[in-house]
């Protein structure tokens, strides 16, 4: 939240200089809730003077009957969470009655409601039943989770009312409604009227609550809105420091969970990172640079093996850093490199290591380096009394890793989402993990802080909104397409889209499955084809799906579609490229050469873009 200096508002001109000063003096001391209450107070005061029957709040802090300033333009949404349809029916009834009072209400199922719309809501009526032991109805579980989670927005300025349905034979009677009521208040919303808890014979109490709520709303609506300062948008934005690779932004993890289902052969994670306050901005297709830290357990093992102390100061470019911290943050201490072997061969005076360094042993060296991490080398060839500085002289600095961003700022302001596949394997009887993916998997719980920066990727960009796109990705290569879809949905883009996705098993590895299903349902995504390589007797990959749909793929290309490939550089990219050549040959009736030309033309026109790694 940015603090607003009231003196930034120009005086509306209606007020005397003295009145304006007093208001400014008061405004500077107000909390958001107080300000909201006062706005209602003044509006109500005016109504009372003009003889309208308005009950003013008689004490601050009472469940606010809050007549509200910009009444004329307030929107009304009725949200329901229903298990058996009772809440849904009541919501529809309420909407019909609202219309009779001249109020236009939008009715929405919590199960289908886009939670990020909450911050735009003005008047909100919630009708929710309770399921089992105080749980929300199944379709509303996501909504509750969002609302009660750390991602819930501040809702000052929102007015709400809750109608709770339940069954008093359960211990946690109407608990779902109570939870909503509590949480909206916590988030700063103003309670329009007290919650009503209905038992199984809910008809009368529900009808009364609906009538009361609508009467309150109808009273406020239709009144001329008091003048509001249209200069609100002049709020000064704090100029953040420019963060980049050299000075990364210390970003906070806000969510981190495994996308692959139970029993999967993989562990692929979804990570949400807050960029709030960084001023960092990016386009769909860009990457996020992340500097990981090494596993402290590995650091401890290395230090122990070297026979050194963790706290021993290490001189680095003039400054001193405790050895353990330096190993954790500054150096790549996992994979052995030829440079490290050379350094260690000198320090250990090992004949075997020295022999490996000869030009004629390049192949053996490569195999050795592949099969031995640094910890394995120093275990095999101990160097008693080695100096910390001598050890680190063989190390490379720890490099940031780049991840295609899986979200769009239009849909998720001040956030970047990543899709990260955890690398895990065993070597010399010990479990090992990738430096960055291991960091994400094991040491990046929500609230952890990571240095990040934005790496622009101008060669992987969405075309104009009306241009069709074909997106091809396997595994985590699907990440930028999630950003593409979020962006196109936010922009209400008209262009068709087609996603080809591949992974191992349908049941466990269909990354972001429910999101694609929702995009298909909403027609944000036009088509989707999937290839799961380990489900059938025959291995099927995305290139096979491209070939199966070759005629249509070629037709899309002829209609100007842009085509994207993201994922593995060694397998996916060449296989897809070959499949595309075949498609153009077969369905475009071209020779091999002409088909290759066709694709080169697409690349030249930036219509065939790849992000492979």
């Amino acid at each position: 939240m940015q603090r607003v200096d009231p003196t930034d508002f120009p005086s509306p001109g209606l007020l005397s200089a003295d009145q304006w000063r007093q208001i400014n003096a008061l405004a500077a001391t107000l909390s958001a809730g107080q300000a909201l209450w006062l706005s209602g107070y003044f509006a109500g005061l005016e109504s009372a003077r003009t003889g309208a029957a308005v009950a003013l709040a008689n004490a601050p802090g009472a469940p606010a009957p809050a007549p509200v300033a910009a009444a004329r333009t307030r929107t009304l949404t009725i949200l329901y969470g229903s298990e058996t349809g009772n809440s849904a029916a009541l919501a529809q009834t309420a909407a019909v009655e609202a219309k009779a009072l001249g109020l236009d209400a939008t009715v929405s199922d919590m199960g289908e409601y886009k939670s990020r719309r909450l911050r735009e809501e003005q008047d909100l009526l919630l009708i929710a039943s309770t399921y089992g032991e105080g749980d929300p109805p199944q379709p509303a579980v996501d909504f509750f989770e969002f609302l009660e989670g750390r991602k819930a927005p501040s809702l000052t300025g929102l007015r709400f009312g809750v109608l709770a349905l339940g069954d008093s034979t359960y211990e946690k009677f109407c608990e779902a409604g109570k939870r909503l009521d509590r949480r909206f208040e916590e988030l700063g919303a103003a309670r329009l009227l007290p919650r009503v808890d209905c038992d199984v014979d809910y008809d009368d109490s529900a009808a009364a609550w609906i009538a009361d709520a609508l009467a309150l709303l109808a009273r406020d609506h239709g009144k001329p809105a008091p003048q509001t300062g249209d200069g609100v948008s002049t709020i000064a934005e704090a100029k953040p420091a420019a963060f980049d690779k050299k000075t990364p932004f210390p970003a906070t993890i806000i969510d981190n969970f495994v996308l692959t289902g139970r029993g999967s052969s993989k562990e692929t994670r979804h990570i949400e990172i807050s960029l709030e306050g960084s001023g960092l901005s990016f386009e769909p297709g860009d990457a996020l640079g992340v500097t990981p830290r090494n596993d402290p357990a590995l650091v401890a093992k290395i230090i122990g093996c070297l026979g050194l102390g963790a706290g021993a100061p290490l001189k680095l470019k003039g400054s001193k850093t405790p050895f353990a911290q330096a190993l954790e943050e500054k150096f790549d201490i996992t994979a052995a490199t030829p440079r490290f072997l050379e350094q260690w061969a000198n320090l250990s005076a090992s004949g075997a290591l020295k022999k490996l360094l000869g030009d004629e042993h390049a192949r053996e060296r490569a195999v050795y380096v592949r099969d031995h991490h640094i910890i394995d080398v120093i275990r095999e060839f101990p160097v008693p009394g080695v100096l910390a500085e001598a050890f680190v002289a063989g190390l490379r600095p720890l490099q940031p890793r780049l991840y295609s961003i899986a979200s769009s700022l239009a849909a998720n302001p001040e956030q970047a989402h990543l899709t990260v596949s955890t690398v895990r394997y065993e070597l010399h009887g010990e479990p090992r993990a990738g430096v960055a993916s291991g960091h994400f998997a094991d040491r990046a719980a929500p609230d952890a802080v990571l240095p990040v920066f934005v790496q622009s990727n101008p060669h992987f960009r969405l075309p104009a909104d009306d241009v069709p796109i074909i997106m091809i990705g396997a595994g985590t290569g699907v990440a930028p397409y999630r950003a593409f879809m979020q962006e196109r949905e936010a922009r209400d883009a008209a262009g068709r889209s087609w996603l080809f996705f591949g992974e191992r098993n349908f049941r466990t590895d269909f990354l972001y499955q429910t999101e694609w299903q929702a995009y298909l349902k909403d027609k944000v995504l036009t088509k989707m084809d999937v290839a799961f390589s380990r489900d059938g007797a025959k291995k099927v990959y995305v290139q096979h799906r491209l070939a199966e749909h070759g005629r249509e793929v070629f037709a899309w290309l002829e209609e100007g579609a842009h085509i994207y490939v993201c994922g593995d550089a060694s397998q996916l990219a060449p296989d897809v490229h070959a499949a595309l050549i075949s498609v153009v040959k077969k369905h475009g009736a071209r020779s091999q050469e002409a088909a290759e030309d066709y694709l080169r033309g697409l690349q030249r026109d930036h219509r065939y873009q790849r992000d492979v790694y």
Binding site: G132, E133, V141, D142, E145, D167, T169, Y170, V200, F257, V258, L259, T260, G261, R262, H270, F506, R507, T508, F510, L511, Y512, Q513, T514, E515, W516, Q517, L520, M528, D529, V530, D535, G536
Partner: protein
């Protein structure tokens, strides 16, 4: 007769235009005789369910329910994965009889596609669970190879027809089983859709209506039929929409007493819904069986409620229109008056376990299968054992309405071999259980059933162990008591006729009922609502101690709970919620 001059109220039945009826009626009509877009939905590779708004409901008519692993539902939702969908496939197996060859096929399919599990239902058939979409057609075609289908195993049609297993009455069982088969075949929808979708047959153009008897709207809701051979009431004949009670003279089948209007399902907090036991309305000679079936189903087809599904079972049609009117209408359609019911007597609704010998000298072994689940578990390889028996067996298998398995029609020379296999797989001692467990039943519930609100199959065994401790402490371990549990109020395990019943309300919470009749002749009544295990055991403990002290000779537990005033006797379904 109290037939009103104005005739019956027809404002909620088939005579009304579609737009005045419930949404499922329109759905059935637009389904093109149950085809819907199932084929397209099966090809949708983005979901493990069958996409298309109507298809999940339509597939029930094909014997298939879409379900998901509810243990994983929440976890997967957070992972942005759809629920772990799989399918339940219920077989049509009239009278619960299958051959050894069929058993082996079912065993093979269960291992290939059904997570190594066969589930015996409370209506004498098998269910496969955990079948994934891409294996659906292979499973159904596999069944077809052995002449089993799943047509009308669910949906608004006549469901699987039940028949008493009666191991010792060989000739009578054969005749009644044959009658059950004929009624099942007779009442079956033609359902070309099934042949087209699952067997890949061509659609044949025809100008004839596809379903001359059922029509495009089929029945208002499910319709259950069963045949019973007294003195066993194993099929709980009073819980059937239409029941046939075999009447014999000198051991020869004469005909059937007809009972109509039974049904278990109800909804918590909807007092207008209730379980109801059937009324015996008269006797028909055996050659009028199919005519009587048509007449009774016809009344429900034409007069059942098609506005509100919760009120669409035959039991409500009867209570709304009056039993006398419904009986008269059945007689009008039959063209003759029903004769008065003949006397009969039931003694139990449980199974007789172990070896029995029929009049024809062939042997039968009834094997206890806890809650009908046939799987290999640590220490009990039931699936393997029964496969080995099926490989050696010359006769048939019969599934009992209490979820047990009869290895039936074993010729005298084959008995030793079967006995040896039972011993080899440790199945010879499976029947050595407490009487409460032998008389227990549970529906599947969690994790696959979408309706369940609480555990049932996974929980009842451990609860029974605790209750048996109480019974033993009170010297009641030799007392047969029926106990049934369901995960929701819909009543798949026929809980509302049990002496002790539990229906799920929320995880760990159940309604507790007492007072059902020992041979299924009386509904029970709710004693406590929405309570947990501690309260359940405490209530049963208190009443068991009282029963041990004060029971009369031969007095069943259910009867006692009424006499002692713990619950009021329920004389009619409408009193159930009083």
């Amino acid at each position: 007769m109290t037939k009103s001059l104005q005739g019956p109220d027809r404002s909620r039945d088939l005579s009304q235009p579609l737009e005045k009826l419930g949404p499922d009626e329109a759905m059935k009509v637009r389904s093109d005789y149950l085809r819907g877009t199932i084929n397209e939905g099966l090809l949708d590779s983005i979901t493990g369910a069958v996409s298309g708004d109507d298809n999940a409901k339509l597939m029930k008519f094909h014997g298939i329910y879409v379900q998901d692993d509810r243990d994983l539902r929440d976890e997967r939702r957070r992972q942005k994965l759809e629920p772990a969908y799989s399918f339940l496939i219920r077989l049509r197996l009239p009278g619960g009889v299958c051959t050894a060859r069929q058993w082996l096929k079912l065993d093979e399919l269960a291992r290939a596609y059904g997570n190594g599990s066969l589930r015996v239902t409370t209506r004498q058939t098998f269910q496969f669970h955990w079948v994934v979409k891409i294996d659906l057609k292979a499973t159904i075609r596999g069944l077809h190879e052995t002449l089993i289908d799943t047509i009308a195993a669910c949906g608004d049609v006549v469901r699987g027809v039940m028949a008493s297993v009666n191991p010792s009455l060989s000739a009578l069982h054969a005749e009644v089983y044959d009658a059950a088969r004929r009624v099942s075949d007779h009442a079956l929808p033609n359902m070309r859709a099934y042949h087209e979708i699952w067997y890949g047959e061509e659609r044949v153009a025809t100008s004839e209506p596809e379903e001359p008897f059922l029509g495009k709207q089929y029945l208002p809701r499910k319709f259950k039929i069963g045949f019973v051979i007294p003195p066993d009431n194993d099929i709980d004949v009073y819980t059937q929409d239409l029941g046939f009670i075999a009447i014999t003279s000198g051991g020869k089948l004469q005909g059937y007493n007809i009972t109509i209007g039974g049904g278990m399902g109800r909804t918590d907090s909807a007092p207008e819904t209730y379980p109801r036991l059937g009324d015996v309305i008269g006797f028909i000679p055996k050659d009028k069986l199919l005519a009587a079936t048509d007449a009774v189903i016809g009344v429900q087809r034409d007069h059942g409620d098609r506005k509100v599904r919760a009120h669409a079972r035959f039991k409500y049609t009867i209570d709304d229109l009056g039993l006398d009117w419904v009986k008269a209408e059945i007689e009008r359609r039959l063209g003759f008056a029903l004769k008065p019911p003949r006397p009969f007597k039931f003694t139990t609704n449980g199974d007789a376990f172990g070896w029995a010998t029929g009049e024809d000298g062939r042997h039968h072994f009834t094997l206890f299968v806890e809650n009908g689940r046939i799987v290999n578990r640590e220490g009990l390889a039931l699936l393997d054992g029964l496969r080995a028996i099926a490989q050696a067996h010359q006769g048939t298998f019969r599934l009992t309405p209490n979820q047990n398995v009869v290895i039936a029609d074993i010729p005298a020379r084959g008995k030793a071999k079967i006995a040896a296999l039972l011993k080899q797989y440790g199945l010879d001692h499976r029947n050595d259980q407490g009487l409460l467990r032998l008389n227990s039943m549970a529906c599947v519930a969690l994790p696959t059933c979408g309706l369940a609100m609480a555990e049932s199959e996974r929980y009842l065994p451990s609860l029974v162990t605790k209750i048996e401790t109480i019974l033993t402490e009170n010297g009641l371990s030799k007392e047969p008591i029926t106990i049934r549990m369901t995960g929701c109020p819909n009543g798949c395990a026929r809980p509302y006729v049990a002496e002790i019943a539990l229906t799920g309300r929320a995880p760990g919470k159940y309604n507790l009922y007492f007072g059902g009749g020992f041979h299924g002749q009386r509904l029970n009544k709710m004693y406590r609502e929405n309570i947990g295990e501690e309260a359940i055991l405490s209530a049963i403990g208190e009443i068991a101690a009282h029963y041990a002290r004060d029971r009369k000779p031969g007095e069943h537990f259910g009867d006692f709970t009424i006499r002692a005033g713990y619950v009021k006797e329920v004389r009619a379904g409408r009193e159930f919620n009083d």
